[in-house]
Amino acid sequence: MLYRRSLRNLIRMICLSTLLITSHVAAETLVLAQLSDRPKKDFKQLRPMAKYVAKQLGHVGITRAEVRLFSELDELVEAVKNGDVHWVTETPYSAAVLVHEADAVPLVMKWKSRQQRYQTLIYTHKDSGLKSLQDLNGKRIAFEHNNSFSSYYLPRLILEKQGQRLNQIKGLHAEQDSNKVNYLFSRNEKNNLLWVHKQLVEAGALNDGDWQNPGRVPEALKAELRIIYRSKPYPRALELVSSKLSAERAAALKALLLGMTPDSHGKLLSRYEKTSGFEALNDDVPKLLAEIYNNSRNWAE
């Protein structure tokens, strides 16, 4: 850990010096990045916004934009820290890691799919008889994947706060710990839902946005399921910038994003991951990010 910090500082210093040296000539290309397991789809979603922003920020020396997608959070962290990536749009968990490990600076909150905030739902099959988080001891719960804020970080945090201990198992056929809540990743929200519905696992976790989306959770299936827990709302997503991006440019980007409304830039926003607007940060956000980060650091890797 220590090693990592010192290394990080070293890298930061190198990056800073590089930035100092090159800032007046470089940074002509604004790089927007995201974690992605569906690069094709995400690239299509990010590209128009990046282009638009680059066009608008000509007055601060930005002449073009680029989109980069990362499969691993560590790589993204590294890139942001180096200043190779200037701008990231991510969920709170990733944002928390970026802020704390890559010196990323949160810029604005992003509303997605008309959700300004979202919450995590923990659900079971009605036939299972499981009605509270306590009932999940010795049972299995399916999360989406280990980068998911709403379907891994948050429900795990919730379960732990309830005093449950969690045990990761490697699959549906793996052995389970009867004194812990056994969790496993379903890879996506569809499997998550079907596993619970077909009672391959006892519980699952989904955010309310997915729950409300009939394409993801069909009404017929929903009727046979029971929500046993709803978390409090969390920001849907965050726009962050690398600390290597000049303050001027960061400010210009922030101002530009906050100025976009569905009325003025409806189509552009909608293509940008179905964004419905941006919101200025409040004081809770850094606190939340710090809390998320700190809690996650305590989990055994």
């Binding site: 056929h173 996506n188 499997n191 079907l194 519905h197 077909k198 069909p218 017929a220």
Partner: protein, 715 residues
């Protein structure tokens, strides 16, 4: 050449080409259709087979590959991954269903998002007849290929993929491909038809070209011959038909050449016939006219004089009549030769601008004509004319007998007397006529006044025939009375000519002229016929023993046919004996006394009486007179007229005495006074005729007289 051989054969060739072409085309199309039909059917069958096999292989491959890919997802119950893969299959393939079931037959995925059939037993879902198996299985049932494909993990089968792929699309494809095949067959057939048609059209074009070639080259000799024939027909004589070829055209050319030679020979013969007199071989009238015409033009240009000599043989007619036409013809040939020789001789004295053979022609009958160009004066012409008369005056010896004719020559001169051929010939004819009238063996130059004389004579000679038909000729009758009692016992029929323009023409004027022509016989017969009709129809009802006298010209007696002609008339009218008196002059009887006697006897046999007219003016031997069958004598009026002057008395007495001694009756002509009547009666004359009794008058007046019974009181 609308329907030339070439065109006809060309059309035939083209039609045959078209026919054969069409037949081949039809047969082609027939077999092509059959082949295409069979091929398409076979093709469709194979296609169906191949497509089905391919489809099954593809389906198996798809199922196998899908099963291989699905193992992890199925093992990890990664429903969304399974669904994505099954969906991907459904998107690309026409899939009826997709199921994944575990070894106990429980469905773990059905391809839907909600997994409606999750947990059900597969046998509830599969169509009947399909086994619930863990082994690979492929079956085609109806429109579907049903496949079961195990999903392995290592050697262990832990699930089975079951899919059904619809066959419908493949069938649709097969149908489309079959349709394509059929279409291709049709296109092939069409292209073959089009190609065949094109070939036929090309063949037709070739046939046409052949026709063109034929008409242009092969038939060229025919056209050449046709052209030569036309030119030859148009009068071009220097045409040759020989083609110098060895084929049929060459033979045709040779044949035409032979025909041309033959035609040329015939043509020259025809020309010779057309322009030459067949008898004497001298030029004929037509050729002479043409040559004279040319000569006149030439003479006109050279201020030359041309004499035209019209030569007529005198007495030739008698030779012809007496000795026959054959002798006459030979005489004409000899006469022609003599004239030709004369011309040849004269050619030494006169420089003729044309061959002598063109100068002499025979116009017909005994008429020859000669033209003499380059003659200087009348003396020269006159000399030649005299020589002509001389050479023809010598007797002709034919078949050992000698015949004598003479020639009269009429001469006319160009340009002095006339300028045209017609004019000159006419004038020469007139001059000849004048020469003949001035005596035999004479020549005369044309003089303008000859025209009138000759023309009037000619008019008379030519007019009498018309006069007979038009009724211009009439008969007048002068009564003959019996001197004993003054009774009219008969009458003499006398001819009268009332010319519509010239008025009455006296018989003394025209009878001698007619006697010189062949019209005398028709005129004589006309007179006799009409007199007989008057006698029978008008006179005999009044006086049944009336005696009618009709004059028979001496000229007529020379006609052999006259005997029968008169014989027939008398016999046809069935006249009683002694009612018809035929009057002939002594001279005419004496010319050929023997034949005349025979003729007269013949006439007497049918009832006619024969009288000698104008007795005493000619010469007659009494012995001859005795041998002739004569019934009476008519004493010529000249003796009666002289009687008053005291000269005719003795002659009259002698004649009457002679007559009485021979038992003949007498009629005294021209009695005008009573003293004449008294004298003749006192000397024994039987009958009298003359103005004292009656002038010649029309029949009506004679009939009136007869009705009055007597003309005078007898002494």
């Amino acid at each position: 050449m609308k329907h030339s051989i070439a065109t006809r054969y060309g059309i035939l060739l083209a039609a045959m080409t078209a026919l054969v072409g069409c037949c081949v085309l039809l047969v082609n199309i027939f077999y092509l259709e059959r082949y295409a039909h069979a091929a398409i059917e076979e093709g469709q069958h194979h296609l169906t087979d191949a497509v089905e096999k391919q489809l099954i292989r593809d389906a198996q491959l798809v199922a196998e590959s899908l099963a291989n890919n699905l193992d992890t997802a199925v093992y990890g119950s990664d429903f969304s991954s399974i669904q994505e893969q099954l969906e991907a299959l459904s998107r690309n393939t026409n899939v009826a269903y997709t199921y994944i079931y575990n070894t106990s037959g429980t469905v773990i995925h059905d391809g839907s998002a909600e997994l409606h059939n999750y947990g059900r037993h597969i046998s509830e879902l599969l169509p009947p007849g399909l086994p619930v198996t863990l082994e690979p299985d492929t079956r085609k049932i109806g429109q579907y290929i049903h496949i079961a494909q195990p999903i392995h993990s290592g050697e262990t089968t832990f699930a089975v993929l079951r899919i059904a792929i619809t066959y419908t699309e493949a069938e649709e494809d097969i149908r489309e491909m079959s349709a394509d095949l059929a279409l291709q067959g049709k296109e092939l057939r069409n292209s073959i038809v089009i190609t065949s048609l094109s070939i036929i059209i090309l063949l037709l074009a070739a046939a046409m070209a052949l026709v063109f070639f034929l008409s242009q080259h092969l038939l060229a000799p025919i056209r050449q011959l046709v052209d030569h024939c036309r030119r030859y027909a148009a009068g071009e004589s220097q045409i040759h038909f020989k083609l110098e070829r060895n084929d049929e055209f060459g033979l045709l050319g040779d044949a035409l050449e032979e025909m041309k030679d033959s035609i040329n020979r015939s043509r020259s013969q025809v020309e010779r016939l057309a322009y030459h007199d067949a008898l004497t071989q001298l030029p004929n009238r037509r050729m002479f006219n043409e040559e004279l015409n040319k000569m006149l033009s030439w003479a006109d240009r050279h201020n030359n004089q041309v004499a035209v000599l019209f030569i007529d043989l005198d007495h030739f007619k008698q030779v012809n009549d007496v000795a026959g036409h054959e002798v006459g013809d030979k005489l004409l040939i000899q006469a022609g030769n003599r004239l030709t020789n004369l011309l040849v001789t004269e050619a030494e004295n006169i420089d003729f601008p044309v061959p002598e053979s063109l100068l002499l022609a025979r116009l017909g009958g005994d008429e020859f004509v000669m033209m003499l160009p380059n003659c200087k004066d009348r003396q020269q012409i006159s000399r030649i004319a005299t020589r002509i008369a001389d050479v023809l005056d010598h007797s002709f010896t034919i078949e050992d007998r000698r015949y004598t004719v003479s020639a009269s020559v009429g001469i006319t001169l160009f340009p002095e007397h006339g300028r045209s051929v017609t004019e000159l010939l006419k004038q020469a004819d007139i001059a000849m006529y004048a020469a003949k009238h001035s005596g035999r063996k004479r020549h005369r130059f044309f003089e303008p006044q000859m025209n009138n004389e000759v023309i009037s004579k000619m008019l008379i000679q030519q007019g009498v025939r018309d006069a007979m038909h038009k009724g211009e000729l009439k008969l007048a009758y002068q009564p003959i009375v019996d001197m004993e009692n003054g009774d009219i016992v008969g009458a003499e029929a006398l001819i009268r000519w009332e010319h519509p323009e010239r008025g009455p023409i006296a018989p003394d004027t025209f009878i001698p002229l007619i006697e010189k022509t062949d019209q005398i016989m028709p005129l004589t017969l006309w007179t006799l016929e009409h007199a007989c009709l008057d006698l029978i129809q008008q006179i005999m009802p009044r006086r049944d023993r009336f005696k009618l006298s009709v004059n028979i010209s001496g000229a007529v007696l020379r006609e052999p046919a006259i005997q029968d002609a008169i014989h027939n008339i008398i016999q046809r009218h069935r006249l009683p004996k002694h009612t018809l008196h035929l009057e002939l002059t002594e001279t005419s009887m004496m010319e050929n006394i023997q034949s005349c006697a025979d003729t007269l006897r013949d006439w007497k046999k049918v009832g006619a009486d024969i009288w000698i007219d104008d007795f005493g003016t000619g010469y007659s031997s009494l012995s001859y007179l005795h041998s002739l069958p004569i019934d009476g004598l008519k004493i010529d009026r000249s003796f009666i007229a002289e009687m008053n002057r005291g000269q005719g008395d003795q002659v009259i007495e002698t004649i009457i005495t002679l007559a009485n001694s021979m038992g003949l009756k007498t009629v005294s002509e021209g009695i005008e006074t009573e003293s004449q009547q008294h004298f003749v009666h006192s000397r024994g004359g039987h009958y009298a005729q003359g103005y004292l009794y009656a002038k010649p008058a029309p029949l009506k007046q004679l009939l009136k007289l007869l009705d009055k019974e007597t003309l005078y009181e007898p002494l």
